[in-house]
């Protein structure tokens, strides 16, 4: 399985990441692409940007551990995870998850699994920058209980293997 994990300040291009994953192979039958995008509002309030802090070495290790868990659970052929840090403005991508498999079920499920764990276990913290740019207008985003619930459900779900067709 080809695995790419990148933490970067720069924007990413989903199409070129998919092209890289598929390059010179014809065994992939399904690719799922998830892109998390910075919205212009947080809790109903307008925002100027998000600033993402991260714990570099641990983020990479933690994402790698979850990709390994996904690989043991589903028949994956490739996974690419790119997570940005630093300042991200509304409309820009924050995170990219690409999963590739022979059939769609594994690709869909693994992408969702990886995102649910990235939200709650990958050491990144979002800070909201309000319009106007005053330091006092920087507020840490609070973790959502619904994200914890989303990750928890994978603990009880049985291991799914891909159907033959």
């Amino acid at each position: 399985m080809s695995v790419i994990v990148r933490l970067q300040r720069e924007a990413f291009d989903a199409a070129s990441e998919v092209a890289a994953l598929k390059r010179s192979r014809t065994d992939i039958g399904a690719v799922v692409i998830f892109t998390g995008i910075c919205r212009a509002d947080e809790d109903g309030e307008p925002i100027a940007a998000l600033n993402l802090e991260h714990y570099p070495d641990m983020a990479e290790a933690e994402i790698g551990r979850h990709i390994e868990a996904a690989r043991q659970r589903w028949p994956l052929l490739g996974v690419t995870v790119i997570h940005r840090y630093g300042r991200i403005v509304p409309g820009e991508g924050i995170v990219l998850v690409v999963t590739a498999s022979t059939h769609r079920q594994a690709a869909f499920a693994a992408a969702e699994f990886l995102m649910d764990y990235l939200k709650t276990r990958a050491p990144f913290w979002k800070q909201v920058e309000k319009p106007g740019g005053k330091t006092s207008d920087k507020i840490w985003v609070e973790a959502r209980a619904s994200d914890d619930t989303a990750a928890e459900r994978w603990k009880s779900a049985p291991t799914k293997r891909e159907p033959a067709n």
Partner: protein, 83 residues
Amino acid sequence: MKVRYFAWVRERVGKTEEDIDPPAGVATIGDLVDWLARQGEGYAYAFENPNVVRSAIDKRHVRSDARIAGASEIAFFPPMTGG
């Protein structure tokens, strides 16, 4: 051992990292949090609700009962909000 702080834990403590030498008897993450919380106002504020602060030993998530013996890097941070 080295301790690193992130996000609002870092802001409250006022440091990104430091080397610490806790006394004997500080055996677990929970013990370390109790000890750190007594090291000054910023620490007390950062750890005012110890159940909220998350921790890692050598870049792996751990619970408060994890033993710190042999750890080279311990990190404290708020619940994560990436993705």
